[in-house]
Assembly symmetry: C2
Amino acid sequence: MTSTVLPGSKEPNPSRMIWSERLRTDFDLNKMHEFLEGSFQESLETLRIMQQLERDPILKTNQEYYEYDKLDHREQTALKIARMAQYIETDAPDFQTFQSRLNLIAIVDPQLGTRIGVHLGLFLGAIHGNGTDSQYKYWAYERGAIYLKDIYGCFAMTELAHGSNVAGLETTATYNKEKRTFVINTPHIGATKWWIGGAAHSATHTVCFARLIVDGKDYGVKTFVVPLRDSHHDLHNGISIGDIGQKMGRDGIDNGWIQFTDVEIPKEYMLTKYATVDDDGTVLEPPLAQLAYGALLGGRVTMVTDSFRTSERFITIALRYAVARRQFKTGGRKVENQLINYPLHQRRLLPNLAWTYAMSIASHQIQADYKQVLKSLDEGVNTEDFKSLSTVIDSLKGIFADSASLKSTCTWKCLSLIDECRQSCGGHGYSAYSGFAKGYVDHAVQCTWEGDNNILAQNSGRITIQKVIKFIKNGKEPTGNYSFLLDASKEGELLTSDNLLNLDDLVKAFDSLILRLSLNGIAKLKENGHDWDAIASEKLSLSKLYAVRYMLSKWCFKLKNDHASSSSQDGSISKHLVKLALLFALSNIEAFGNRFLEFKVLSPDSYKELEKVIEQVLSDIRPQVIGLTDAFKLSDFFINSVLGSYNGDVYNDYINTVNSLNDPSVTKAPYSSALEYMLNRGSLDARDKHERSDSVLKKLSS
Amino acid sequence: MTSTVLPGSKEPNPSRMIWSERLRTDFDLNKMHEFLEGSFQESLETLRIMQQLERDPILKTNQEYYEYDKLDHREQTALKIARMAQYIETDAPDFQTFQSRLNLIAIVDPQLGTRIGVHLGLFLGAIHGNGTDSQYKYWAYERGAIYLKDIYGCFAMTELAHGSNVAGLETTATYNKEKRTFVINTPHIGATKWWIGGAAHSATHTVCFARLIVDGKDYGVKTFVVPLRDSHHDLHNGISIGDIGQKMGRDGIDNGWIQFTDVEIPKEYMLTKYATVDDDGTVLEPPLAQLAYGALLGGRVTMVTDSFRTSERFITIALRYAVARRQFKTGGRKVENQLINYPLHQRRLLPNLAWTYAMSIASHQIQADYKQVLKSLDEGVNTEDFKSLSTVIDSLKGIFADSASLKSTCTWKCLSLIDECRQSCGGHGYSAYSGFAKGYVDHAVQCTWEGDNNILAQNSGRITIQKVIKFIKNGKEPTGNYSFLLDASKEGELLTSDNLLNLDDLVKAFDSLILRLSLNGIAKLKENGHDWDAIASEKLSLSKLYAVRYMLSKWCFKLKNDHASSSSQDGSISKHLVKLALLFALSNIEAFGNRFLEFKVLSPDSYKELEKVIEQVLSDIRPQVIGLTDAFKLSDFFINSVLGSYNGDVYNDYINTVNSLNDPSVTKAPYSSALEYMLNRGSLDARDKHERSDSVLKKLSS
């Protein structure tokens, strides 16, 4: 009994509902977690790190987190960064484990992940990608930046008036032959470096993107290490920095602006893997400059993982609440029905559950591909083997295309998932303690930074169309992740009521739609004089369809290859994975229904049938929703929501949190007197000393 | 020159672009404003009130607002409430003007509107709707609540475990015959009143929704005035209240929880317009109880207006920025292209502009209808004319249906509009000073409160289907806003490339889709044994389609009747209004493309044509976007965004605001030492006093 209850009272008991459903879980959670993490070993590793994080005294993140203002967030984040720095030392040289730590702590504290990610991924990533080996060794190891020591780096790319168009940046780096220095300058307000994470108060150094000017000639944007502060955190001369202040979310990040006024740096601070300036000012640029950005794709790849992890968290909260919460008596029941029993509620949440599973597949696949390419890139550059490097360039292009589509599609989906989950929790989803609010505002920026989603989607869509053009026109067969175009069907209905539950046929339907939509785009291009901007809508659809197809096809492959075994052997997980894959496919056909119908991949009648099939699949999945979210193995530390704790004691968790953070014994607010004054004020007449009364007016007119 | 610029520098000049487009506006802004506000008189009244609000020293809301924490918001809101209370006194008895003040101040400070709206609209609205005339007169006028005097009311409906299902509330009001009192009690935690706006620290009284229990019999939920605090703001015995703390947004509202422990109130505090209890405990309930909620529909109606006003603000910011911002050189241009020139950017923003115009029509129409019904209701109840009351009940049902569809559709649209506008401003949209962040989190709750959008949409969809059932089965012709069903076409393609620009035919296409989708729903109902929950998806689509059709048809009516006159006479606004109406219709056909294609209202080929037509209409509207948003006449006070000021000096506005709120001369953060300690730390070995060194290990093993 958590509080006194009189006889006859019908106190709600949400825990009981959660537990009774949990006990009916009919598959092996460990096996499912292995599927989600990629292998037994990875499952174990994830849990091991999670346990270490949640037990750490400084990394703790609890409900108080939702009360923090900007300064609280920044202070706490600084302490956590210092703590994480100690983990790097013991993890080294295994930086992969440290990266997993960052990805996992980002589930509950995304800004912490970003703060360190900017230093390791962007600052050091840029030095790694653009600098020589010696340069990387000096800044990363000799100085200790790789251990978050001595140097705290930021990444000065974006400017106030320039974001996506990196080639248009206006900061200059002018070579001074006499002194063998570069002079870094911000020519005007529009070229002020802006949004620079860590710049406001933390960074000691930055990688600055600036136009290389030699003898008055502009050689385009190159990269330079520029010291900003000394070891006492005092600013160097010529460096002006400001805090850009309050943001939608992630207030733990001290984003800042930087203006450089004739800041002189040694010539050797230029990063010179792909471009060098001789002492006499001759600029050399080997033809591999396109490799420079390879290291920076890591951010996009990580965001696919982020979207997966964040979705795990919020769909768990929403589904636990949907099981725990009752609303309206229906069908002659004595008690109110659980939210999750309503078909509309299933329609709102279960496709998002299926998406979460799909994103786990995308995350592991692209992480693995990316690691492979980086490894080949390093080997190729080190051995100067130009032949293997050209293969690497192709692979890098593949990662660029995949990550453009997956980063934009998954971050958008995750954002809409958080909002749908919040709305599905009704009013309580609006409480900060539900976690949705901070989750939403923190995730929102993922759709914009490191490649604006709309621009990335345009890139991805264009690449698909170009593959089709090359194939159709020049007979160049598409390879790798585009090889499906080879056998994709140009016409005819592919889905009927007979094969709506056939996963292979569903994949083929996506293959075909992508081809048909591309061909339509090509026809439009011909009509409009090859204006790619005029087929923006087609490119946008293509990018999203590519991502869905990517995940669905990899999912089917996994099901066939890893889980063809008997049900007892796989812990009975396959049957659920098939249902989720079907739901993923079918709900996306519905979401792109206009395109599937426009290009006659299915007929209006089959589309009607599709809606019925979806309802069936939803009700098949419904009984296992607690198990299917428990399988994420997120402890209450990672859930951090009054609505979604493991025990499901929603109402007690909620009121206890509210009261612990807002002491009910403080019954008067500091502003109480303003209201009392208002309520107890005299009449307007009296306050005006009756100066508009008839008697006064009479006096005044006599 | 806002700061020193050296020769040759190419400082961006966004103002110049805004102004050059502004000067090309080819229609009369005043006439357009009249269209948006409904008439010349209303246009004037709106501007008069706006001017008064923005000049008021206490109601000021500026960029500092985005820095406020919860307590700041609450303090400022209390001061503003007290200020608004003075306006009520001088506005009275014209409460319509005061309501307009609230609606307009809510553009920049939504929480202020809510705080007062809860008192006037919900608390007094409930007393008006459920109480007798004498009861209303006492609480509202004799005590002074209508002037925000003496009494500050809140609205204790929702409970922790009960939101949408009002009939399931569990708070009890037990009649005590001997003492002629009611005893109000919260039986358990689930029945704790929750989310009660104004309860935490402000309210002196509440209208409490509680089950009437007489002699052990439960008569269902009735309403009671219950005092909470005395005039010193001290809590009465038996009243437990807490602050429910941090929320996603609207932190200026002190939402609270209330538990009643055997709180005794005089029998006369029960609101008895539609239910009375005799002294001996006999309960009388006249058959008009369904009128009780009439006064409460006001909240939903107001939210249509809120969605319109909020959309005006955010689409203005996004479009001004889209004109002012350049990105990428295209088509051989010397300077970068303006964002708004990209077809994708037009596709993202201009349909939202069209929606904003459509919502103005919805807002005025439903406000007018609602006022008319309330007037008839008051007259009917006062004269006890039951015949006219039954007509009023029909009208009230009409408002219920319209407001369910419009509230849910418009608040959802406004939320997605804010987010799309934010994303369209790239990274800068993520700055709190852009206004989008607070705008989004504040608006988000509109989708949930006073009727959860999903539940309202289900109600609306069900009503449409029921109208069709009655018409088809019983031949009862639909009237009023449903009369379009009479002539709606059950089959055949209605749109081809020939009539995609014919507004009347576009309306007919919506008419037809609504009928066909309803018939499909009816067929499904038959199949599944009349389980309305099983056709949730159809009902959801129907509700949204109904709203779009409502706005589009009223828009066409206005164009035909108010603007049939010559172009010179109407200030050349009609041609633009026609384009916007077309865009509204066409982009919604695209948005519901799966339904239009599923029900063969247009063919796949016509759908392809539709996409081309949309592009044409977008480029027609493009040149007037500055004029079409200037026509909202929102001064910089109401815009309150660094990205969207009238003069469009985006970059200077932005950096000046950032620096005025985050002093760049404070170069070190309070947490600087934590980072310095981390960066300057010794090696792990040294910090561990070398206790893992070989020499130590040797000692330990010898």
